[in-house]
């Protein structure tokens, strides 16, 4: 028996899954002031009358980290940056407590300028004087050689509550994103760790031996204790749950579009051969571009309750929501009102919907029905256009080899999965516009909780071997070791696989669910003068987002 809980912005859903079937679902309102209380309520409710001994695992997806960032419920962070030449400090500075110091690692991972001990000590004094408890340390190219970051840490670790390191956030290059990711990690560290402690205390009262997982932005799970080290990985857990839920309920194996139409926004995601796509560099939150692995999605301000504008007879929808639909007493006409007028749904007060749409009709000069149709069409088209743009963006992604230019796979979805409130009335038309077969999966109302419940553990590892310098680096694990000049790509691949499995097990993966994918496999001859002096081996492996098990197909129509 698996318990999945999605603590969303409005509702909190829980689902119990047993023998490939949805056994029970519960939906309650989320109390944003007391997420832990909401979590307790829903867990108590769904587990009542259940045999706790059958509970194998609990998976939680939560807006905890996202909310902390969005609502500014974060700690002051001191940032220590070794930026070296390149972008100026004015662009890299992330807050008032950002300090720059000398020391530089180049793209090969060579330390070309040392850290200045006096500088570090001065910065430490200024940060402690300002009452800072949480510090982020980020060096340019620290993923190539973390030594500079760890040297700084050694000098100051006793003076602060917690230090976040840039090189542990991701193996990917991108200094400004590394700064933002490390900053956010440090900023929510305390809030998140407090939350984890409370959740674990509560679970202890139910069944302390049951493993508890949290869903990360990349649609994969991590054992909650492990996640506490890198809280930034748990941002955007909610949207990830929704995508994983659709994946699960749709039994998708092919290229497909997944859209979640809510009241305020519509979120779009894509599957390639049934695998959800990841953001190429990392997710963006509150304007911060990060290195946090996350499912690729696009959000637009068109939902059932979006305000309809009709200045000069031109109809447009959104992006803002100002209260509910007119049919529910809202101040402005909305797509929901149009769908009620058209008889596509029979919720709310039809007369109030008509009255709202009539105001639009006065401006356009068309009949109420035609106007409603136009509003509905505008909303559907706007969603369809965004889907098309997202597919184009992905298919036009720059590639760097001739092979990929000539052979590159293109995503060509034939299926559209729709969940969310207005899914039923809108799915068919959006499908038509996209030339896709439209489906609404069963249990769509608790898709997020199901997605969380059945997601597998995901992780990634980056291996760099430089046989000229005789070094091997796996930065996510903080590994740096000497290798022989004869070190080969094959040896690298083996180490990469072993370390990935080790890492996944540590995060709570079951051995049988680990499926390794090699993301990057490149070997470059390094030539100096006219002689080959070594090889530059670059490997990256991941456990991609997927499901530990399926819901049996028989449970859906």
């Amino acid at each position: 028996m698996i318990l999945g809980i999605d603590v969303g912005g409005t509702h909190t859903d829980a689902v119990l899954i047993e023998d490939l079937d949805v056994k029970k679902t519960v939906k309650v309102l989320t109390n944003q002031e007391n997420l832990i209380g909401t979590f307790q309520n829903v867990a108590d409710e769904i587990l009542r009358e259940e045999n706790i001994d059958d509970l194998e695992r609990i998976v939680l997806s939560t807006t905890m980290s996202t909310n902390a960032i969005v609502q500014g419920n974060i700690d002051e962070v001191g940032m220590i940056l070794a930026s070296g030449p390149g972008l100026p400090p004015s662009i890299l500075k992330i807050n008032d407590h950002t300090h720059f110091l000398s020391g530089y690692v180049n793209h090969r991972g060579e330390k070309v300028a040392e850290t200045d001990v006096t500088e570090v000590s001065e910065i430490k004094d200024r940060l402690t004087a300002a009452g800072i408890r949480h510090v982020g340390i980020v060096g340019k190219f620290s993923t190539r050689n973390p030594a500079l970051e760890t040297t700084i840490a050694d000098m100051i670790q006793n003076d602060f509550t917690h230090l976040s390191f840039g090189h542990r956030m991701s193996g990917n290059l991108n200094f400004p994103r590394r700064i933002a990711t490390t900053y956010l990690n440090a900023a929510i560290w305390n809030t998140y760790n407090t939350f984890v402690k409370e959740v674990l205390n509560f679970i202890g009262t139910i069944k302390s031996s049951v493993p508890l997982f949290i869903l990360k932005a990349d649609g994969g799970t991590s054992e909650i204790g492990q996640s506490a080290k890198y809280p930034v990985g748990t941002i955007l857990s909610g949207p990830a749950a929704s995508i994983m839920g659709i994946l699960c309920l749709s039994h998708c194996r092919e290229d497909a579009i997944a859209i979640d139409i809510g009241g305020t926004t519509t979120d779009i995601a894509l599957f390639a051969d049934g695998i959800p796509l990841l953001e190429p560099f990392g997710v963006t939150i509150e304007g911060h571009k990060t290195l946090t692995r996350g499912l690729r999605s696009r959000s637009l301000g068109v939902g059932g309750d979006s305000r309809v504008h009709y200045e000069n007879g031109d109809i447009s929808v959104g992006p803002e929501r100002v209260g509910p639909a007119a049919a529910f007493g809202g101040p402005y006409p909305t797509p929901t009102d149009a769908m009620i007028v058209l008889g596509l749904t029979d919720i709310g007060d039809k007369r109030m919907a008509e009255a709202a749409v009539e105001k639009v009709a006065e401006s356009t000069g068309a009949s109420v029905t035609d106007t409603a149709r136009q509003i509905f069409e505008t909303a559907c088209r706007s969603i369809a256009d965004n889907v098309t743009a997202m597919i184009e963006e992905i298919n036009n992604k720059p590639v760097y080899t001739i092979h990929e230019i000539l052979e590159g796979k293109k995503i060509m979805p034939q299926v559209l999965y729709v969940v969310g409130g207005p899914a039923q009335p809108m799915a068919a038309r959006i499908g038509e516009l996209l030339h896709c077969h439209a489906c609404i999966p069963d249990h769509a109302e608790v898709a997020n909780a199901i997605g969380a419940a059945l997601a597998r553990t995901t992780t990634e590892i980056t291996l760099l071997a430089d046989t000229e310098k005789r070094t091997l680096t796996i930065v996510e694990e903080g590994i740096q070791q000497e290798i022989s000049p004869q070190f080969t790509r094959e040896e690298g691949l083996q180490i990469c696989r072993d370390k990935l499995i080790e890492r996944a097990l540590k995060m709570g993966a079951r051995e049988d669910e680990i499926e390794i994918e090699i993301l990057e496999d490149q070997v470059f001859n390094m030539v100096r003068g006219y002689y080959t002096t070594g090889e530059n081996i670059r490997l990256k492996a991941q456990i991609k987002p997927g499901l530990i098990t399926e819901i049996a197909k028989e449970t859906r129509q």
Binding site: G84, P85, G86, L87, P88, P89, S90, I91, Y104, N106, H107, R108, V112, A113, K140, F141, N172, L173, N174, F175, P176, R177, F281, K289, N396, K397, P398, V399, Y400, T401, I402, H403, I405, L406, Q522, F524, N525, M526, V527, G529, Y530, Y531, T532, N536
Partner: protein
């Protein structure tokens, strides 16, 4: 520095699966560290830096400007088509108004490829800038174009292609040909009889540093550009003037390249040479991208940058000052020089011996131009490679006058194929390419 926010297109194509040979400077690794640096600096996250996938140039694009022997397919691989296609994409994004300027960071390079192509020379098979420019002219109509070639080697291919074209100004700044491949590019190479002054060569002495390059830019190149009034400025952005380049002997820097690009403000920059893959290219390219996008590049330097250790000598400074004066007066007198051309004869001829170092081919060429006051002039070329493969080509220039076109058509018609492997006809305005 003053911020000048611009929308910049970036076409990055490092061709990680293509090399001339495993240890050749033009190999897979060449843009690897540039990619690292560009990614690490997070340049692709700037809202005003937009990355585009390169298109592929077509055989028609090549046949618009080159005479390939025996044909375009035989002298190119996909890598050349993507490299030229990347340059075309860059220019199209600018002309379509999607971006203010664009940088094609592509390989392999092209500025040693001449009109006739028997094979590869100076690591180049086809001239990616020329293919781009003629594609643009064919798609968007006639354009006055200035090419400023800042590669350390003289761009003898681009010079050859535009030698007779008064509407294309080719300015090359390079290490003195007496000390470096390809050995040409002296101030007296000043354009064909119909295009005197639209080829400008500025050879610089070895060990010229930032000061010298920027002096030439400010006192010679910018004033010439101001007078020429081009519709488009193209920068052949070779990066081998760098003080760490293994095959040249100059002392230019990443900071210098960025300043040069900023002051020149090209519409399109196209990567050419540059083989200091680890210690120069990453920093130069970051500098150029930031300069094009109008983002503060003042902190972009090599980690070991020390201007005092690479300062040019006072001899170099005074040599350059004198040369700038000389070339500037040549430019000022170009119309008088053009008036002196003997118009009594109809044709002017030049003999060329061209060596293809990369492919080891020797070409003998006789190129004839019709002296014409109305256009660039009809050109016909008799070329023989390795004493065997002989071709004849008739080229009607862009914006051609009716007489040159008529004469070209007649000449192609009347030329007997027998002594030649092929006879070619190229009409750039009408986009016609015929082979017999």
């Amino acid at each position: 520095m003053k911020e000048k926010y611009r929308k910049t297109g970036l076409i990055f194509f490092p061709a990680f699966d293509w090399a001339i040979s495993p240890t050749h400077p033009e190999r897979e690794e060449r843009l690897l560290y540039t990619q690292d640096q560009v990614f690490e600096e997070g340049l692709l996250d700037f809202d005003n830096i937009i990355e585009y996938k390169p298109g592929m140039a077509t055989v028609d694009d090549i046949n618009r400007i080159h005479i390939c022997v025996p044909d375009a397919e035989s002298v190119t691989t996909e890598s050349h088509l993507i490299s030229a296609g990347g340059a075309i994409t860059a220019a199209e994004k600018v002309l379509d108004g999607e971006v203010d300027n664009a940088f094609a960071l592509v390989r392999p390079p092209g500025h040693h490829a001449m009109t006739v192509v028997h094979g590869a020379r100076g690591f180049c098979n086809i001239n990616i800038e020329a293919i781009m420019i003629e594609h643009i002219r064919s798609k968007y109509g006639p354009k006055k174009v200035a090419i400023v070639d800042t590669d350390c080697h003289h761009g003898d291919g681009t010079q050859d292609i535009y030698w007779h074209d008064p509407n294309t100004l080719y300015i090359s700044i390079h290490q003195d040909g007496r000390t470096l491949y390809p050995g040409s590019g002296f101030p007296n190479e000043f354009g064909g009889p119909n295009a005197i002054g639209t080829t400008i060569n500025i050879p610089l002495p070895p060990r010229t540093s930032e000061e010298g390059f920027l002096y030439v830019l400010d006192h010679l190149i910018m004033p010439i550009l101001e007078e020429f009034e081009p519709d488009l400025i193209i920068n052949s952005a070779g990066q081998d003037n760098h003080y760490t380049d293994p095959i040249t002997d100059m002392r230019f820097t990443a900071q210098g390249y960025a300043i040069l690009n900023d002051r020149l403000s090209p519409d399109v920059a196209v990567l050419e040479g540059g083989y200091s893959v680890e210690t120069a290219l990453p920093y130069i390219n970051v500098g150029i991208i930031l300069a094009m996008a109008g983002i503060d590049y003042s902190q972009v330097t090599e980690p070991d940058y020390d201007p005092s250790s690479i300062r040019q000598s006072s001899e170099v400074t005074s040599y350059i000052e004198k040369e700038v004066d000389l070339i500037h007066s040549l430019w000022k007198n170009r119309n008088a020089e053009k008036a002196k051309v003997d118009r009594d004869t109809e044709f002017a001829t030049r003999q060329k011996n061209i060596y293809y170092d990369t492919d080891g081919i020797q070409e003998e060429q006789k190129e004839t131009v019709r002296l014409c006051n109305e256009c660039g002039g009809l050109v016909f070329i008799d070329s023989r490679a390795n004493y065997a493969d002989r071709i004849f080509a008739v080229i009607v220039p862009g914006q051609s006058c009716p007489i040159c076109r008529k004469k070209g058509e007649d000449l192609f018609e009347s030329t007997d194929k027998k002594p030649y492997r092929h006879v070619y006809f190229q009409d750039r305005d009408r986009d016609i390419f015929l082979v017999k």
